[in-house]
């Protein structure tokens, strides 16, 4: 029964032209049904340490999710969709495990030649790091840089408010003030959306300036 639903959904995707809203709907439903299907396999369970298996399989499933849109037109309805997907999963799982062993799974730039195994952190593990106190010297360094503004790029201000400079606003943010509190520091108060959007737009342009002086 479920097989038939998936087969019909796959044929529905094939029927609609690429980039049509109909095809996107059908694809979304198909990929979702595959991912929640109890028939989605667990191939090569013993290929890697048991503690890694779920992550290796998840990475392989992620790759299949990217592949299906391009491969779906090759699907032949005499096979069940899950047979087809499980065939792909076997290949991808071995690919991912091989890359993991070689520490070659990479998306973010690798730091130098360092090859650390990737950790899939849980929320609890992330929370533990959060408990640590920030180092004072780091925020001091930022504060000092903004106050000194070596290339005088933080004097730009909001329209008719000469004191609402980027320097002033950044320092207020470093003090932990909310947008609301910052907006009310001016007379008459500046709408907080204006303050926020002014800082944000300029911050994107200033990213290289910050990097140049603070990432040495």
């Amino acid at each position: 029964m479920e097989d038939e639903t998936l087969r019909q959904k796959a044929l529905e995707v094939q029927r609609h032209p690429p980039n049509s809203a109909e095809r996107r709907h059908a694809l979304s439903q198909l990929v979702r049904l595959i991912w929640i299907s109890p028939d989605l396999g667990h191939p090569y369970r013993n290929v890697c340490p048991i503690s890694l298996y779920e992550d290796i399989r998840n990475e392989a499933i992620l790759r299949i999710m990217s592949e299906i849109p391009n491969r779906i037109d090759q699907y032949q309805p005499q096979y069940s969709v899950m047979q087809w997907v499980n065939g792909l999963l076997r290949y991808r799982l071995l690919d991912v495990w091989q890359e993991y062993k070689n520490a070659g799974i990479t998306h973010a730039p690798r730091r130098g030649s360092q090859r650390e195994p990737v950790i899939v952190r849980s929320l609890d593990q992330l929370q533990l790091d959060w408990a640590a106190e920030p180092s004072l010297s780091d925020s001091d360094e930022m504060r000092q840089f903004i106050a000194e503004d070596p290339e005088h790029r933080l004097n730009k201000h909001i329209g008719k408010y000469p004191t609402a400079t980027l320097k002033f606003l950044f320092l207020a943010m470093l003090d932990g003030l909310t947008w609301d509190e910052i907006a009310k520091m001016f007379d008459p108060p500046i709408p907080k959306t204006t303050v926020c959007s002014f800082v944000h737009r300029n911050l994107r342009k200033l990213e290289p300036y910050f990097q140049k002086h603070l990432c040495e």
Binding site: R23, V31, L62, S66, I105, V120, L123, D124, W130, T193
Partner: protein, 298 residues
């Protein structure tokens, strides 16, 4: 309608967590580090889902890749080509609301909620809204299915130019007399053809501070039986000059692009081209990181 029943799950594994860890390590404050990690997972999940559905995205242009922007701003944006910027908000387990910080209110076409599970091994796209609020109950979200509909609709041509020749003009377009002053009207005539239809539209680039409105002006004329000559201009409204840096870009599906950027003291900028009836193209007007895109069919 409760969107959660139709949520779309995305596995998060090495690729997602490696990227998240990279962004986490660039933050010195522990709270910002955690925020960078979760924002990256949220953007990654939405990016994966949209690419799977055939939308073109530009993840590397997100604020999450800019460590100093991420230090001051809690944003998780994702640019979808020809559509605009989507905000991807991570929802922690057991939370029943979606928080949208003020810094993510500007310049977004929509806000997507992504529920994370405690192991961070799975993210679920649970729904979206188009209007921001500081707190949005999850039960008020529209479903992922509706999001596909919403985004697909955004890719459809909003304007059919050959219909203009028979007087069928989409709502939102005005005559130039309604938009521009008489001196500016003279300038619009620099298009050296027999103009058949000229229409304009006010564009808001979300510039809160200087709030300088601009007008997008299209002049069209029949070139041959199957082709049309099109002039696209951008004029300031209630100002003499355009803000320097305003860019006008016209691109078609084949990747051809025409682009012009306003310099100091430009009264207007323009591009002219000839296109076949049925061709699709889009016009993007941008300044800094703010942009507006409109899709046309000739």
């Amino acid at each position: 309608m409760n969107a959660i029943s139709q949520s779309f799950p995305i596995p998060l594994s090495f690729t997602a967590h490696q990227l998240a860890e990279h962004h986490r390590q660039q933050q010195k404050h522990p709270q910002k580090a955690k925020q960078a990690y979760l924002n990256t997972l949220a953007v990654f999940a939405v990016n994966q889902w949209l690419q799977c559905l055939g939308f073109e995205t530009e993840m590397e242009k997100s604020d999450i890749y800019q460590p100093f922007v991420a230090q001051f701003m809690n944003t998780a944006d994702l640019i979808v080509k020809r559509i605009g910027r989507l905000e991807c908000r991570a929802i922690l387990p057991d939370s029943e609301v979606c928080h949208i910080p003020l810094e993510a209110w500007d310049d977004r076409v929509g806000y997507i909620a992504i529920q994370l599970d405690p192991s961070l091994k799975c993210a679920e796209i649970i729904g979206f809204v188009t209007t921001p609020a500081e707190v949005i109950p999850l039960k008020q979200l529209q479903s992922p299915e509706e999001l596909i509909e919403f985004l697909s609709h955004k890719l459809e041509p909003e304007v059919t130019l050959h219909q203009w020749l028979v007087g069928k003009i989409e709502p939102g377009w005005k005559t130039l007399e309604q938009l521009l002053n008489p001196e500016q009207l003279e300038l619009t005539l620099s298009f050296r053809r027999q103009i058949e239809v000229r229409q304009g539209q006010q564009i808001d680039l979300g510039m809160h501070i200087d709030s300088r409105a601009i007008a997008l002006v299209l002049s069209i004329s029949t070139e041959t039986e199957t082709e049309m000559a099109i002039s696209v201009q951008v004029h300031p409204i209630n100002q003499s000059y355009l803000s320097p840096g305003i860019n006008l870009m016209i691109s078609d599906d084949s990747g051809t692009q025409l682009s012009v950027t306003a310099r100091e003291a430009d009264n207007f900028i323009q591009k002219e081209f000839v296109a076949a009836i049925g061709d699709c193209f889009n016009i993007t007007i941008s300044i800094d990181e703010t942009s507006v895109t409109k899709n046309f069919i000739v």
